[in-house]
Amino acid sequence: MTTRTVPPAVRVTGVRHRFGDTVAVDGVDFDVAAGMVFGLLGPNGAGKTTTLRMITTLLPAPPGTIEVFGLDVARHKLAVRRLIGYVPQRLSADGALTGWENVALFARLYDVPRARRRQVVDTALESVGLVDVAGRTASTYSGGMIRRLELAQALVNAPRLLMLDEPTIGLDPIARTSVWERILEVRANTGMTVLVTTHYMDEADQYCDRIALMHHGRIRAMGTPAELKASVDPDATLDDVFRAVTGDELRSSPGERMRDVRATRRTAHRLG
């Protein structure tokens, strides 16, 4: 790479993805400038998770292209993976390992030098308040504890791009605030970029520099929270924007809701 203008942290161009007959993502374009907190919002089934998973290199994106800091995701998978930290939507920590081992594993996988590893892992656990339970296997953790453990894993080597899929779901209000404080703290220290999905409009309003609203696999509105609100009504809330963009379909179909419930239960079962 030559020294040109700094590439955006993420550039998504014409991206589509279908699962069988379901078109999950139907032609999405957006840029995330380096250093910002970018929120991907939208009702259940809008295609947010699928979009994130394509950026993580897990799902193919043709005919669209995705670049992470100027690197084509399809061609430089390994290089892109070095730059990202990812917290998936469903709770996931290895229940057979202790909290400490879970984080240490990711420290190794992101090449934290051996000399610093112990300290880095300790710091990561401390910053999410899990030091006291670090020696217990993750199968004994509560949902909120697993979420914080996952954040420690994703942040262990200060990624360039942190991708969080509904990071605060199931967290109590205090934990929610502390998770965001931790994210913003790392961003202040390292200049990392954050790409986040959430269903909490207050969170999006408070923490996101820019928001894209997805619906049925497409982006329906994009801008700063203030711009989006102003486009609907002078004293609109982000809730109103959401409602205006997605019509009255605030709730997904019952079938989809069941799928989510089942998936969550299954995860809880596996971890237990």
Binding site: L78, A79, R81, I84, P88, R108, L109, E185, T190
Partner: protein
């Protein structure tokens, strides 16, 4: 806060073969270490799993030695059986790893690992390593038991080392076979069905329990393409000194393992989608 700067953006162009090789080795070590940590948290299971091969050896072995129902020449049947039981228990352990990979997929752990800069081959090889360690612990239990039952085992350290290598290769092959099937079956239930449908034929279609010359022709042919047959042949040669084609046994198992590692690694991505 001791937060270091994030990784530099430049210098991550197309990796060279050498850097990829180094990365793979380092990640294989990491994933193997993790598996050892998991085993450490679950020590009782290591030994409860040794009960089954012990029963085979004691009940099946002792009974058939007395009955003299299976002609094994001048070698007592229990001596003949002991290496077969080692291979069998290694097979049963390794075949379980496909299910474990599916569990890890369902728990979301697999996808998270696949998003880290880790070659798939390291994820697969870590599992193969774990299968080998478990199989070797069981082999140790079987060996001690066999010695107590008066089986005339070798005490040549080189041959014992050969046994370690052979059991590891066999475990690696069957573990990767199991992950391959997991990558094709994708769900836990289907994998259980297929796993059971192939484990028993692999076991009975090998010389683990009876000599090849007792087999009908078609079974003899199956034994010829069954890696378990080569594992048993080699183990018997090393442990109780029956005539064996050691070079062939090691060669077949090594090639089969490399082949299976590649296929399992290639199919792993199907599980994470």
């Amino acid at each position: 806060m001791s937060e270091q700067l994030a990784v530099p953006l430049t210098g991550w162009g197309k990796p060279t073969p050498l850097s990829l090789f180094r990365l793979a080795i380092s990640r294989i070590a990491t994933m193997s270490l993790v598996e050892v940590q998991k085993l450490r948290h679950d020590r009782t299971e290591l030994f409860t799993r040794a009960i089954q091969p012990a029963l085979w050896l004691i009940i099946f072995g002792e009974t058939f030695t007395r009955l003299r129902a299976i002609p094994t020449g001048h070698i007592p049947y229990i001596d003949y059986l002991a290496p077969g039981i080692i291979a069998q228990s290694a097979l049963f352990i390794a075949i379980f790893y496909g299910i474990q990979v599916i569990w890890e997929r369902d728990a979301g752990v697999l996808a998270k690992l696949m998003v880290t800069p880790t070659p798939r081959i390291a994820l697969v090889t870590g599992k193969a390593f774990a299968a080998s360690i478990r199989a070797l612990i069981q082999a140790l239990v079987v060996l001690i038991l066999a010695a107590l039952l008066g089986v005339a085992l070798t005490d040549n350290p080189l041959k014992l080392l050969g046994m370690v290598a052979l059991v590891s290769l066999g475990s690696c092959f069957f573990c990767c076979l199991s992950i391959t099937i997991a990558g094709l079956a994708l769900t836990h239930d289907r994998l259980m069905g297929i796993g059971q449908a192939i484990t028993m034929p692999l076991f009975f279609g090998s010389s683990a329990l009876y000599p090849i010359n007792l087999m009908p022709d078609w079974l003899r042919f199956f034994n010829l393409i069954n890696p378990l047959g080569y594992e048993v042949d080699g183990l018997r040669g090393l442990l109780i000194g029956t005539p064996a084609q050691l070079g062939l046994d090691f060669g077949v198992l090594a090639l089969a393992s490399i082949f299976m590692i590649s296929i399992a690694s290639a199919l792993l991505v199907r599980l994470a989608r």
